[in-house]
Amino acid sequence: MAGRVDALYIFLLIVCGMVTLLIFLCLAYFAARFRHRPGVRAEQIEGSTALEITWSAIPFVIFMVIFAWGAVVYFKERTPPADATEVYVVAKQWMWKLEHAEGQREINELHVPVGRDVKLIMTSQDVIHSFYIPAFRIKQDVLPGRYTVEWFRATKPGVYHLFCAEYCGTQHSGMVGSIIVQEPAQYEAWMNGGSTGPLSVSGEKMFAELGCSTCHRNDAQGRGPNLKGVFGKPVQLEDGRTVTADENYLRECILDPGAKRVKGFQPIMPTFQGLVSEEQVNALVAYIKSISAAKTGDSAKTSASAAPQARVQPDGSQVQ
């Protein structure tokens, strides 16, 4: 990513450098050549439409090239690969809490292996922060109340700066850390020390403890939708809209269940706002994702048939 950004940056430096040089040379030449001399009067020139069009059109074409190039780089920056390793990030005044899908937890440090795509699923516990790794040329604001996503692939082992780039109060400049990029072997060794088990497993435990599993059953008989296989699929809502069940949707359903209720279900789910921490929401989301991803092949079909939208009859009558 850094290479792509730098290439565009260097292109811009060259183009803008040449334009600056052109303007400054013209200014300097005109200033010297046409300085006031006694007896020589200025020549009044009205203007030139041809020139105006030229110096509007040429910059415009250059601008469009820069725009398109910038947009391509941005699209790559904003589109995480599907198979990226996932790390959940919770920002708070003034620290970064990171949790690997495998269950490793870190504060203000993130260990990643060289050459692997890493996707950060980020939220904030309080104000807006911004997860900035200058060496990778990436930055994404971290918002309270929803997830934002950022991804990178480190290509060289080393320790890189991690900064909070959105002003967040007293210790904003202390909200810094390191990205530690390791060779795969070293990374595995680090990974094997002191894990509390995968995030999805703690999520599964919580799913039972919080009583989620009493309604969200593994069959079609629950009072809430069966969650198997819903992740990444379209969901029909009570108000007629269709949304994709991504991380943000799952999160919203936990914290504000009434907002986007699945078609065919009663508004009986209580809100978990204030009852679960950001880390616990992350674990729950990780668990729900795991029961969608783990079962592949033919079992995906069965889970899809058990998915909530299948329970609604074509005439709109509900199976309750």
Binding site: Y9, I23, C26, F34, V40, A42, Q44, G47, Y74, Y167
Partner: protein, 551 residues
């Protein structure tokens, strides 16, 4: 300060300065020229407060450790530096001082359309300013000038509501000035002064006024919502109550991006006047320069979300706003090319105003071109919220707008005060400002691309950034001297400067066809205009009247 003018000769023509004396003749005046001077004194006061904060910021950043002030103090310093400089200096600077003084003079009117509203707008500014001073003296505010929610609404323990209300009140001053200019320019032009004969200064102020009228109310609404959310917990921006903090950013930048054009367009107007006068030529491509001001005002309203490319908006929204940002760059480029072309085959004089104009061209070009970097989506992700952005907008708003303001102050000082400023000192000051400015802000472009985030009080985790920070701080002290000098010699010239003739530069424009300083109602007879703007073919070179004119 204006009341201390000595009378050099026993018999002096009656003018707006000597017509009446006494405090009330100033505080209750409806003369646009006196109100301009009231503004001049007040914004100069705030400029030096804001400058003092800037100096403390730069001193703190001299060393990587946070050792001069405490973290909270530093956060208040950069917040109040921004609020004071933007809302209490830059936004009113050229329009409320030079615009107030010159708009009626340039169009041959006796005063603005609504003289009492003009005075009201100064009082609103003073009330807002007094609230801001009170806020600063009793604890200050630490949200940044951007007031981002939910930090400002739910987390900051400082005087956010008071600061927001101060800006709210000052905003109405800006709205009323804009309203006054729009009506005045439409209704009060002298006979024969058609739109195509208007000085470009007037076109620029017309465009600025439109932005002030349409944009400032949105800022007022936004700040009201912040205050209400803070006091009543409405849940507009607070996600815990179903609000959206990104909504705040949309509302805020809907005003605050066009506000950049409130600051730079009037400076562009000033530069057009100066370049025409000191190259003794009409402006190349007059109508393109005039309409590019209007184009900037219109497009300026459509680019706000380019401040939010990493804020969590959709990829497609970002695409649209990036594209539109390049569209607004075209009229700015047109202006720079036309000014450069105006010099061609001119007869160029290097008086202080022209040196400031050259400074403006250099700094605005760099500021504008680095804007192209920020509008490029892929690069913005890396450099937004770093010192790259800080450097970019200072090149536009200080390098551009303040250079224009100082250039204009020198150009029209003989008209305003009736005195000539010391030319040698003024040229020296222009040079010091230019050098000091570049030394302060150019290193910040490098810091930004290397990844130093803005609003960092302590950079002991990245001591590699110290060298560039030291350069920047050194530049700031040079720049400070450059800004103090004009204030000293302008004050000096009010007592000791040579009396100015009516038209010391032999400049075109109606404001030079009346006395210096002008009488209270500007013109003894209503002028009738039969010529185009910048009819320099009919005017001799300046400097023929170094000796004081007979009165």
């Amino acid at each position: 300060m204006s009341m201390e003018i000595a009378i050099p000769q026993p018999v002096e023509r009656e003018n707006y300065l000597n017509k009446e004396y006494g405090v009330w003749s100033w505080l209750l005046t409806t003369d646009h020229k006196r109100i301009a001077l009231l503004y001049l004194i007040s914004i100069t006061f705030f400029f030096f407060i804001g400058g003092f904060f800037a100096l403390l910021i730069r001193l703190e950043l001299l060393t990587p450790a946070g050792d001069l002030v405490q973290a909270d103090t530093y956060n208040k310093l950069f917040s109040m530096h921004g609020i004071v400089m933007i809302f209490f200096f830059l936004v009113p600077s050229i329009p409320a001082v030079l615009g107030n003084f010159l708009v009626p003079l340039m169009i041959g009117a006796k005063d603005l359309a609504f003289p009492r509203i003009n005075l009201l707008s100064w009082y609103l500014y003073i009330i807002g300013g007094a609230m801001m001073v009170h806020c600063m003296l009793t604890g200050g505010v630490d949200t940044g000038w951007t007031f981002y929610a939910p930090f400002s609404t739910n987390f900051s323990n400082t005087k956010v509501v008071e600061a927001a209300l101060a800006v709210f009140v000052a905003g109405f001053s800006s709205i009323l000035t804009g309203l006054n200019f729009v009506v005045t320019i439409h209704r009060m032009r002298a006979p024969g002064l058609t739109w195509s004969r208007l000085p470009l200064f007037i076109w620029a102020h017309y465009a600025t006024s439109i932005i002030q009228l349409l944009g400032t109310p949105v800022l007022a609404i936004t700040l009201t919502l912040v205050a209400a959310e803070r006091a009543l917990h409405l849940g507009i921006f607070d996600p815990k109550l179903g609000g959206d903090p990104v909504l705040f950013q949309h509302l805020f930048w809907f005003y605050s991006h066009p506000a950049v054009y409130i600051m730079i367009l009037p400076a562009m107007g000033v530069i057009s006047e100066i370049i025409a006068c000191f190259s003794r030529k009409r402006i190349f491509g007059y109508s393109f320069v005039a309409f590019s001001s209007i184009a900037i005002a219109v497009f300026g309203f459509l680019v706000w979300a380019h401040h939010m490319f990493v804020a969590g908006t959709s990829v497609y929204a970002a695409l649209v706003f990036s594209l539109l940002s390049y569209a607004v760059a075209v009229p700015s480029a047109i202006k720079v090319f036309n000014w450069t072309a105006t010099l061609y085959k001119g007869s160029i004089h290097y008086d202080a105003p022209m040196l400031y104009a050259f400074g403006f061209l250099g700094l605005f070009t760099i500021g504008g071109l680095t804007g192209l970097f920020l509008a490029a989506l892929g690069i913005d992700v890396h450099v937004t919220d770093t010192y790259f952005v800080v450097a970019h907008f200072h090149y536009i708003m200080v390098g551009g707008a303040v250079m224009g303001y100082l250039g204009g102050m020198h150009f029209w000082w003989p008209k305003i005060s009736g005195r000539l400023y010391p030319e040698g000192w003024a040229r020296l000051a222009a040079l010091i400002v230019f050098v000091g400015f570049n030394l302060t802000f150019f290193p910040q472009f490098l810091l930004g691309y290397l990844g130093m985030p803005r609003r960092y009080y302590d950079y002991s985790h990245m001591p590699e950034f110290q060298v560039l920070n030291v350069l920047s701080t050194a530049g700031a002290t040079v720049l400070g001297v450059g800004y103090l000098l004009p204030m000293v010699y302008f004050l000096w010239s009010m007592r000791y400067g040579k009396p100015a003739s009516d038209n010391p530069w032999n400049a075109a424009g109606l404001e030079w066809k009346t006395a210096s300083p002008p009488p209270t109602f500007n013109f003894d007879e209503e002028p009738v205009v039969t010529w185009e703007a910048y009819n320099y073919e009919e005017l001799d070179a300046p400097h023929k009247e170094e000796v004081p004119v007979a009165r």
